[in-house]
């Protein structure tokens, strides 16, 4: 089965992409690195996740993409039958075609083990396991408190409540992270963290990883709706995921 080559793809690119898939699948690191843009080899190497041992590769498609880059999808097969698709975007440099960015598709959120639970945010995580968003509020004066604290900063009451709050709000800010800041984010880059303002919690803001963020045209003020992903592993915590509504 041949790759789906869209109109507008320069004729000299498909053989380069084909060969790139082969050297990656063969574990030929030197040849793989030679295909990357020289100013970002480290970032690219640590961005994508592949099967440990591979049996082959297949170029699925090549098409013109944003910013004059060419977008290729390559499927890699592991010896144990695992299949992983990487999307690479190619740029023509004086020395030839090079990979400018790469990611696993579809996009999935990074799963980071919590460093320490048991702080004042513990009720947030307990509620999250039930799929509920709960935000701290003072039982004495009604102040919404976030991040959670052991005391109400407004009235110094210790009578703190955790009401359920509708996971709806607007994007207060966002960032799409490309840099592999920790080994756990490999295979999930780039991902988008959104800061969401919650009208139901006095305008307090909570964080979360945006769903379907790949290629999304993000704007501050966009309405979003959240839900919790169950923990990806016993050691992990539930993740608040937001979707543009």
């Amino acid at each position: 089965m041949g790759a789906d080559i869209a109109p507008g793809v320069p004729a000299d690119l498909p053989p380069v992409v084909e060969r790139h898939g082969q050297v990656v699948a063969a574990g030929d690191q030197r040849a793989t690195l030679a295909d990357f843009r020289p100013d970002r080899i480290g970032q690219l190497v640590a961005s994508a996740a592949l099967p440990d041992r591979m049996s082959g590769s297949e170029v699925l498609s090549i098409a013109p993409g944003d910013g004059g880059l060419m977008t290729a999808h390559i499927r890699y097969s592991g010896v144990d039958g695992e299949r992983i698709v990487l999307r690479s975007r190619w740029i023509r440099l004086p020395q030839g075609w090079r990979v400018s960015d790469v990611r696993n598709v579809p996009d999935t959120p990074p799963v980071l083990a919590p460093v320490e639970l048991g702080g004042p945010d513990e009720p947030y995580w307990a509620a999250a396991r039930e799929g509920e968003l709960r935000i701290q509020r003072c039982g004495g004066c009604g102040e919404w408190i976030w991040a959670p604290r052991p005391i109400c900063p407004a009235c110094h009451g210790f009578d703190l409540e955790w009401p359920v709050v509708a996971p709806e709000g607007r994007i207060f800010s966002w960032t799409r992270t490309w840099q592999p800041f920790a080994p756990e984010v490999r295979g999930h880059l780039p991902y988008v963290v959104v800061l969401v303002e919650l009208p139901a919690a006095g305008g307090r803001r909570v964080l979360g990883v945006l769903r379907d963020a790949d290629g999304a045209d993000l704007r501050i003020g966009l309405p979003v709706r959240g839900e919790f992903d169950p923990p990806a592993s016993p050691a992990a915590v539930p993740l608040l995921r937001w979707r543009i509504s």
Binding site: D39, V115, W146, W178, V185, I220
Partner: protein, 394 residues
């Protein structure tokens, strides 16, 4: 404006010292050893016997306690030791202020302010340690870069500060570094096309918007004004010093009230200027901490040195920000981004050089030299340094 209890002119920086800035992970010695080398250099610069140091101040959770540094040097007596709380370089100016406060009220005579790191001893990202609780970490927010990216995105998108303001700041840093043989970016000018096309770190920040830690140490010696005049010809007097975190600013999981502020809130800024009896427009040169380009621009806006919103683009040009003739030269040794990054301690040394008239990018006749620490950090601080001339007539 001078009142009893004021810092004004009571203390001065008399010695500065630094090791080379090395690529992280490549220092031939421990952070403690580098720190000791920097302290010795600062004492030599001041003409001071290191054994007469009696105060030790650091910040950003430096792993070398003052008592370890002091005992290694065999000092006669340790009379003062302070660690400024708060992650990142927000405490850098606060550390200088703490030293000034100590000598101003006679708690110590010769106080050294230092910061030293090596990747081997401190790991990467030691500026952020302890400030990434599960609410941030689990949602993929792992580093100060991402927090500053979130805040910078709103600074650009909602406040309307143009991207060009960030670029001008970075390019001014690089331009200054070309005259500084000690800078990591010396001999490596920044091509605007390379800046614009560099890889994303976390949008809207690209590679050259970000500082990168070096293995190095630096130190300054602070003493009383009286002692300073005995020791050196041109002390850099501390005219005013502030630190702060306003209500709702710190440890709020991105619920900071003035979200696109750098944290230099209006009361703090007023205290800074009133403490010295000067206005923003009178400052000759600024060393503004650039953990990242966006927070540094926000700091200049907070201080009233740069107009807010779209107007920031008109002011923030490479020409305006570059010595000797720019309207407000910044980071004249190259700053954290282009000289080297040890959580801002290098900026202190350069703020002092400007008062001495010894910068490689000297601003002619600089009398008022401002240091801004750690924008967008949980705690921020500032120190205004002045020449002998600024004290005259008071």
């Amino acid at each position: 404006m001078t009142t009893s209890g004021s810092l004004y002119g009571a203390a001065a920086v008399v010695g500065i010292g630094t090791t080379p800035y090395r690529k992280r992970g490549t220092a031939p010695a421990s952070a403690l050893r580098l720190t000791l080398e920097a302290v010795l250099a600062a004492c030599a610069d001041a003409g001071l016997d290191p054994r007469s140091l009696d105060g030790f101040v650091s910040y950003a959770n430096d792993s070398n306690e003052g008592i370890a540094v002091g005992s290694a040097l065999g000092v006669h007596e340790i009379r003062w030791s302070t660690m400024v709380w708060g992650g990142g370089g927000g405490g850098v100016a606060a550390a200088v202020n703490a030293a000034a406060a100590a000598v101003a009220c006679g708690q110590a005579e010769h106080v050294v302010v230092y910061r030293g790191i090596t990747e081997v001893d401190d790991g990467r990202g030691s500026y952020g340690r302890g400030h990434f609780p599960p609410l941030l970490h689990s949602h993929g927010l792992l580093t100060p870069a991402q927090i500053c990216a979130l805040r910078t995105q709103r600074l650009l998108e909602v406040d309307g500060v143009p991207r060009s303001a960030l670029e001008a700041l970075v390019r001014a840093d690089y331009a200054h570094a070309q005259n500084n043989p000690a800078a990591v970016a010396y001999g490596r000018p920044l091509d605007p096309a390379v800046y614009a096309d560099a890889r994303w770190i976390s949008e809207p920040l690209r590679l050259y918007d970000c500082s990168r830690e070096n293995d190095a140490a630096a130190a300054v010696v602070v003493t009383s004004a009286r002692r300073a005049r005995e020791l050196v010809e041109r002390p850099a007097f501390i005219l005013s010093g502030v630190q702060g975190a306003t209500r709702g600013w710190s440890e709020s999981a991105e619920n900071e009230t003035s979200y696109t502020s750098a944290g230099f809130h209006p009361e703090l800024v007023r205290r800074l200027w009133d403490g010295a009896g000067v206005k923003a427009g009178e400052v000759d040169v600024v060393q503004v901490y650039e953990n990242f380009s966006g927070p540094a621009v926000a700091a200049l806006i907070d201080l009233g040195l740069c107009p807010p919103g779209p107007e920031a683009g008109r002011f923030m040009t490479v020409e305006n920000l570059t010595a000797p003739h720019g309207r407000l030269p910044i980071n004249t040794a190259g700053g954290n981004i282009a000289e080297g990054f040890v959580h801002g301690i290098g900026l202190v040394l350069e703020a002092v050089r400007q008062i001495r008239g010894t910068s490689v990018n000297q601003v002619p006749g600089a009398d008022l030299s401002l240091l801004l620490g750690g924008p967008m950090a949980p705690l921020v601080s500032a120190t205004l340094l002045g020449s002998q001339r600024t004290l005259a007539g008071r």
